[in-house]
């Protein structure tokens, strides 16, 4: 397709998009997801008005019931007449490059509601719990005018921390079977959670997990040791506080203590309370100015992403660089160089 035809196609697509037609959004997402030529201009056009929507991320280990919980939460928001976008990420098979995207199964009850738009995405090799372009897709949904966008991470392991780059409020969903609070700490979930949810709370082990999480959160906040008198000249409470000022991530300032809630997505138990908590977090985000901090942090990530992607593209499409790459391989194979010496030559050319 030549550039003019493509530009015409994008114009038509943008018209649908700004007219609020679902088809326009769906196709815009495809253009962005496949990083088709012109996708950056498209994003630039729709993002001009800046972030408006409320973004809530759901992450947690596989089997935690994230999809069911997102479906339950979405149903509640629909009762409040909020227009919703939902992005659900599932893993791409590393063997075939294909993917089985099954999150819609849990959302069948709401799948024909015109007030909700659900899009499945495959990770396509991206780690971190999101697909490579999930953040951009959330931006598209934001620009499309949804009141709220729910993002569900893939749920395969312990490195799903990228959700913070897509969401204002991060809900970490655990189940009694997902292990103890120590595992959650190791996985870095303490740092990213704005709200903890212990789902399938009717199962044995749930009260214990809730208790452990609360203890771990207190410990993190330093409050568990505040009342303990100084021992051997070291005030542990103070030591903890001090450590926190240096180590604590920027995203957890004073004033929000991470709650641990219990839900049962299948019976809807605790879901209303979860919505209330998400609202409270929203109020806190806005009143404390934290929302602005998070949006700025996100903007920085996004700028880096775009620059990284373009630099890679520009670098490797250059014939000079391709030639230097081949020469580097020859040198290494002849015993005359290392990847570092070859890379030095290439970087020298690029930065000249």
């Amino acid at each position: 397709m030549n550039a003019t035809a493509r530009s015409d196609e994008h114009q038509a697509l943008l018209k649908h998009f700004f007219d609020g037609k679902v088809l326009g959004l769906a196709r815009a997402i495809t253009v962005v997801e496949n990083e088709r030529a012109g996708f950056q201009e498209l994003l630039h056009t729709v993002m001009a008005s800046g972030p408006q929507t409320k973004r809530v991320g759901f992450t947690g280990p596989p089997g935690a019931g994230k999809s069911s919980l997102v479906a339950a939460v979405a149903t509640e928001y629909r009762k409040l007449d909020e227009h919703l976008g939902v992005v659900a990420v599932d893993p791409t098979s590393p063997y075939s490059g294909g993917a089985l995207l099954g999150d819609r199964i849990r959302m069948n009850d709401i799948s024909t509601d015109p007030g909700i738009f659900i899009r499945s995405m495959a990770t396509r090799g991206s780690l971190g719990g999101l697909a490579a372009t999930t953040k951009e897709v959330v931006d598209l949904m934001d620009a499309f005018g949804f009141d709220r966008v729910l993002v569900e991470t893939v749920g395969v392991g312990q490195t799903e921390l990228e959700v913070t780059a897509a969401a204002d409020t991060v809900v970490v969903v655990l189940v009694p079977e997902s292990g103890d609070a120590i595992q959650a700490m190791k996985a870095g979930l303490m740092e990213i959670a704005d709200v903890f949810v212990v789902n399938k709370a009717d199962r044995p082990g749930a009260p214990r997990l809730v208790k452990e999480l609360r203890q771990a959160l207190h410990l993190r906040a330093g409050s568990a040791l505040q009342d303990i008198p100084a021992h051997h000249g070291v005030d542990l409470g103070q030591a903890m506080k001090k450590e926190r000022t240096t180590d604590a991530p920027a995203k957890e300032p004073e004033g929000w203590s991470v709650p641990v809630l219990t839900t049962n997505a299948l019976t809807n138990e605790g879901v209303e309370k979860l919505l209330d908590t998400i609202s409270e977090h929203r109020v806190w985000l806005e009143e404390s100015g934290e929302i602005e901090q998070r949006r700025r942090a996100r903007a920085a990530i996004r700028i880096r992403d775009v620059v990284d992607r373009e630099m890679r593209r520009v670098a490797w499409k250059s014939d000079d660089v391709q030639r230097l790459l081949r020469e580097g391989v020859e040198e290494i194979s002849a015993g005359d160089g290392t990847p570092y010496s070859a890379a030095d030559v290439i970087l020298g050319t690029l930065l000249r």
């Binding site: 088809l23 294909g98 089985l100 099954g102 199964i105 499945s120």
Partner: protein
């Protein structure tokens, strides 16, 4: 089984589960902006369901999508549905490789250039 076969052939498959209404199917197809809609109809209602989905897809400005599928469908019905713009329909015992080859071929011819 079909879904995982397509996954293993490198497709991204949005699996919606069983017992979908035509409205649910078309809604999902539009939101996910898919290339192909594949339906399995074993209930005998294929002469209602395939035309209905085809009509809803056309109405949704999604007539570029391939509608295909399978089930226990008599030869005459297959011919009639194809006349109405439905793609190839596969009977019981079809190998998944045939279905995958068909979709690949369709994609290559419709998305050439």
């Amino acid at each position: 089984m079909i879904a995982s076969a397509f996954r293993d052939a490198g497709f991204e498959v949005v699996y919606t589960g069983l017992h979908q209404t035509p409205e649910m199917i078309v809604n999902a197809a539009v939101q996910e902006d898919v290339d192909v809609v594949a339906m399995s109809v074993l209930s005998g209602a294929h002469m209602t369901l395939f035309p209905r989905v085809k009509m809803l897809l056309d109405e949704a400005d999604a007539d570029h999508m391939l509608l295909t599928g399978g089930g226990i469908i008599p030869e005459d019905d297959v011919t009639e549905l194809e006349r109405q713009g439905v793609g190839r329909l596969f009977g019981p015992g079809t190998s998944t490789a045939d279905a995958i080859a068909y979709v690949n071929e369709w994609f290559a011819t419709t998305h050439a250039g």
